[in-house]
Each structure stands twice: as C-alpha cells, then as structure tokens.
C-alpha cells in the first residue's frame, strides 16, 4: 500500500529509487540537484546501502560502472555541466551494456550557463551524449508523481534491456513540491544478472569479462554494433510511451516535456474554455521518440506547436515525424517572461501563440 506524501521532486526521485530497490548511489555536488545527492547520503546508510561522494562526475559515473557490473541497482544524479563530464564513461557503459540509471536535472547551458532550469540537453541525451553512436532510454517526468514513478520504470527498463536509462528532469521539477502516492510499482520480472562480477567462487566457476575493449576480440566489432542496434530497434518498437491530453479532436497539438508540459496543459485548458480545439502530446520516452503517434496525427490534418525551454531541440524530432514542415511551429526560450536566468515560458504566453496559430 502506498503512502500520500507532500514532497519535492528531489525527494520523489530518491523515494522512487528506493522503491525500485536501489541501494547504491554515487554522486558529486552540482546545482540544482544537490538535494538528490543529500537525500541518498542521509537515507542509504540506514538501509545497509552504499553512498560515496566521488571527486568528479567522471568518477561517480565510474563507480556506477563498477557497481552495475557487479549486478546491483545503482544510480547517480547530476546537472548539465556534470552530465557533459560523464559522457566518456557513459559511452563505455553503453558498449558494455550495463544496466543503471542517471538523472540529469537540466540547467541552462552551454558552459556553466545558469544554475537554474532549462531544457538544453535534449539532443545530448536522446542522441547518446558521448562518442561512438549509441542510445540510452530517456524518460521525461513532468510532475513530482512522475519523478517517483519514472524512476522505478527507469530501473525496470535498464534491467530488462541491459541499458543505461536517463531520467531527464529540470531545475523546476526537482524544486517544486506536490502531493503524491509513494509506493513500489511492479512492472514484471527482469532477466537474472548471472553475469555479475563477484568472483568465480560464488558462480560455480563461471567467469565473466565486462570490458569495453570487446570490439577487439571475436565475435568481431561489426557484429557487436549490429547486436546493440538490434536491441535499440526492439526498445523503439515496444517501449515508446506518450501521455496525451485533450488530443482526440484537437486541430492544434502542443508538444512538450518536463516543466513546460505543465504550462502547456494549462494553456490547453485556457484554449478549451474558449472552445478552441487544442490538445497536447507529451512524450514520456524522449528516446525512443513517439514518431508514429505524431505521424498519425499529422496524417489526420493536425498542426503542431512545439514548446520547449531551449532554442529548438525537441522540435527537430517533431520535424522528423511530420512530413509537411510548415505544420510545425516552435515556441522556445526566446518566449521566457524574463531575460535573466529566472525566466520561464508561462501558460499565458503559450495561449497567445495558440491564438495566433489557430
């Protein structure tokens, strides 16, 4: 049975991970996600878990590599500049097919950018941020409840497919508080980790190499890459998820994720109260992206307004899905209400744009 709690996004991330059975966290402080790291520093020792504050995001990602190779549920959390630093190791995690979860609480970029919210890591996260051409599953919560629930889904998908799963949040989502249901979610069984590194004495003599140089030895490099991409294809086929809102009869669809999706929902309500046929499609999986859902809507004659707190990244995927590019409009970071780091894209601004388009 669940428990009703009024908690912040950062605590929802933590409680979601604990409900998924994650007892290993390795992190490095960076704003605006320090409360996630602090949550695990507080909670894990009480549960016979392990918390280490590493000396950099490269190191915390390496700890995650090791713990994932040893078969436990493990995660780290960071914000955009730290996400950048992790990419080297995440590419190795991808090649070694190690199941683990990384939370990226997006802040403004590039460079140090700002310490506040933004959505400027979309492309980096969905294209496999590091070198070598790989994919990670990317989940995007838009509420404190989804922070909690998608953390659990992230661990499940990571184990099911032996893949890195990224939870792409933002500075606002992590810092707001909402009433949520806190409870373990059962997604079904996952394959046993009989490959985990623990010494051959505990595995009846079986030995495993989890090594990033496996491309050097048979079965040749090309086969490994093809197998990886076969797996990515399967994930795209079975694990694409969207949330729709007032989308059935909509002529104009708002496409967004994260905190902006909440603003879009409000804008849809404003439009509906004036009788305008406006709806919303919120991708829950940013990769795999719901191309087919959007394709279908486009073939029914819908138009699309992409709303995102960047200069245009999500819009690239929408344009890939919709053949007639003229049907896709963008409302981006330039529509923030303030020029400084506190600027946000408000529902009123979105509604104004909707009025212009419809």
């Amino acid at each position: 049975m669940g428990e009703k709690m009024f908690i912040h996004g950062y605590e929802a991330v933590g409680r979601g991970a604990l409900n998924a059975g994650c007892l290993h966290f390795f992190g490095y402080p960076i704003t605006p996600q320090n409360e996630i790291t602090e949550f695990f520093a507080r909670e894990l020792p009480q549960r016979r878990g392990r918390f280490v504050q590493a000396e950099s995001e490269s190191s915390s990602a390496s700890f995650v590599f090791g713990a994932a190779a040893a078969g436990v549920r493990v995660m780290t959390s960071t914000a955009s500049p730290g996400w950048g630093l992790m990419q080297e190791i995440l590419s190795h995690i991808a090649f070694c097919e190690l199941p683990c979860v990384v939370v990226n609480v997006q802040r403004g970029g590039p460079g140090q950018g700002t310490t506040r919210h933004a959505q400027t890591d979309y492309l980096s996260a969905t294209r496999g941020g590091g070198h070598g051409g790989y994919k990670s599953i990317v989940l995007a919560p838009s509420s404190v409840q989804e922070c909690h629930d998608l953390m659990q889904l992230a661990f499940y998908l990571a184990d099911k497919y032996r893949i890195l799963t990224v939870v792409l949040a933002d500075g606002i989502l992590i810092q707001i508080a909402e009433y949520i249901d806190v409870k373990p979610l059962d997604f079904g069984p996952v394959p046993p980790k009989d490959w985990a590194l623990k010494g051959i004495g505990k595995k009846e003599g079986r030995f495993d190499y989890i090594q990033s140089t496996r491309g050097l030895i048979p079965p040749i490099y090309k086969n490994i890459v093809e197998q990886l991409h076969e797996k990515y294809g399967k994930i795209a086929e079975y694990e694409t998820r969207v949330r729709t809102y007032q989308a059935d009869d909509a002529e104009l669809l708002l496409i967004s994720y994260g905190y902006v999706a909440r603003c879009c929902e409000e804008a849809v309500n404003m439009a509906r109260s004036e009788g305008l046929k406006v709806g919303m499609i919120q991708p829950i999986t940013l990769w795999p992206f719901p191309y087919e859902t959007l394709e279908q809507k486009a073939s029914q004659g819908c138009r699309f307004l992409v709303v995102e707190d960047s200069m245009g990244q999500l819009v690239e995927d929408v344009r890939l899905a919709v053949e007639d590019k003229k049907r896709v409009a963008l409302l981006g970071m330039s529509s923030r209400h303030l020029a400084g780091e506190l600027g946000m894209i408000f529902p009123e601004t979105i509604f104004e744009e909707v009025r212009k388009l419809i």
């Binding site: 090791g66 040893a70 010494g199």
Partner: protein, 258 residues
C-alpha cells in the same frame, strides 16, 4: 621418481596456473607485463583469494596478461579503474577482493585524479601499476614516468625536465597519504627481485583483505620494442638506469590508518 611396481608418480612442482586458459598472449616479445600479471595470479592462488577476486584492467598493455584468465574481469575507460574497482567492492558489500592492473600512463597521468582521491578515501582496493617508462600500447610516447634524457616518439631529443616535466614517483607520493595502508615498488629483472616483488604483491592483497586501506604496488617492467632494445638489454637497462630513478622497496606498511 619411480614408485612401486614401476608406475611413475608425478607431482606438479611448477607450471602454468590452473586459472590460465590456452589463450594467445597479446604482448610483444620481451614485454614485462605478462610476467607481472603472472605474479599477481600466483599470489592470489597462494593466498587462496583467486576464487573471490575481481580484476579491473586499465587501458593499455599492462592488464593484457589477464586475458584468458578464469577470473571475473572489468575494463572501463582510460584512467578510472580505481573508481570502477571501488564500485565493484561496494556492490559486493566488501565481500570480494578487487584490484586494478594499470599502466603508468593510465594510473599516473590520465588517471592521477582518480588515484589520488581513491587513496585519500582509503578505498579498500589494491592498485598494481606497471611502470615501463612510456606509453607502450600507442607506440612509445612520453609517460609521466619517462626518465630524464630518455628518447621517446614525443621526446625525440630526450626528455628535458624544464620542457617536458619530471619523472613522477607514485608509491613515494602515496606513502605520504593517510588513506594508504601499503605502498611499495618492485622489479622483475631477475629472480631475486621477482620473488621480492611477489612478497610485496601478497602484502598489498593482505592489507585489502584485512580491510585496512588502499594498497599499492608499482612494478618496473621492460618494454624492449618501444625502448628500441633487445630484451636482454632492456632488462639490463632496468637494473642500471630505471632503478636509479625509481628505488625499490616498501614505502609504507601500516596496520591501521589512525
């Protein structure tokens, strides 16, 4: 030895480890790394630890001797092996012996930040650094351990301290750190030193199983191909030149960190 009724009694006195498969060695002729790996495997067997051990190899020639060994093995990026090893240790709730096998470039250049912080934390792992005074895998470039005056492909006139920096003495440096339980440097250029180095390796592993702190052993290894020397000359060069810069022995041997 002839037993009764003419049957021959055979007893294995010395030979390849039971944990070693017939696997082609990826090393150059005269390379010291496989012998140094062999010392570690022998030490693990003699201490009864091998079945409960995980090896983490760095990027480079050093750990290649572990290919074809019947052990759990991880290999990540260039440098972070200490963090990977500590992650494995935590995930097993300390019930495993974890050690890294890294080259001098992996451990002391690109991995120096990981190494120092792992030592400062006193991670309960063992680090073996093979020092062949150059980047062997990539064709013989300067390493942090390259001797002054030594010619490499990136110091064609010889390493000049003012221009290229000075040789790094890792076990001496680690010996000054509180989180380190054991720090030593050995060589394998003759059998006496081979045996002495094996003793260091065993002591380092025992520090880990006793849960005291981080333990570290540097092993000097020959790299005849990149040194442009015949193997026998390379071994002599270690004895005459390399040990001059890098003295052998134990630098720290602590029974507790406090």
């Amino acid at each position: 030895m002839n037993d009764k009724a003419g049957s021959v009694h055979k007893e294995k006195i010395y030979g390849p480890s039971d944990y070693k498969m017939d696997f082609p060695l990826p090393s150059c002729p005269g390379c010291g790394s496989p012998s140094a790996c062999k010392i570690i495997v022998e030490a693990l067997e003699e201490l009864g630890l091998i079945q409960n051990s995980v090896v983490v190899i760095g990027v480079g020639c050093a750990g290649m001797g572990f290919f074809g060994t019947k052990m759990d093995m991880a290999m990540c990026a260039h440098g972070p092996s200490p963090s990977v090893a500590a992650g494995i240790k935590h995930a097993n709730y300390d019930d495993v012996t974890v050690f890294t096998v890294q080259g001098d470039g992996d451990c002391a250049a690109i991995g120096a930040g990981y190494l120092i912080n792992s030592a400062a934390r006193g991670d309960k792992i063992t680090i073996f650094m093979f020092n062949n005074t150059n980047y062997g895998t990539t064709g013989g470039q300067m390493a942090p351990t390259t001797l002054l005056g030594q010619v490499t492909t990136t110091t064609p006139q010889g390493r000049d301290g003012m221009a290229h920096g000075y040789p790094l003495h890792v076990p001496e440096m680690l010996a000054t750190m509180k989180g380190v339980a054991y720090s030593a440097r050995g060589s394998i250029h003759n059998f006496a030193h081979y045996q002495r180095t094996k003793k260091y390796v065993k002591s380092a592993l025992q520090k880990q199983t006793a849960g005291i702190g981080l333990s570290f052993v540097e092993i000097l290894t020959a790299c005849p191909v990149n040194w442009r020397m015949e193997p026998i000359k390379a071994i002599r060069w270690i004895e005459e030149e390399v040990t001059g810069e890098y003295p052998l022995g134990e630098f720290k041997n602590a029974d507790s960190l406090d």
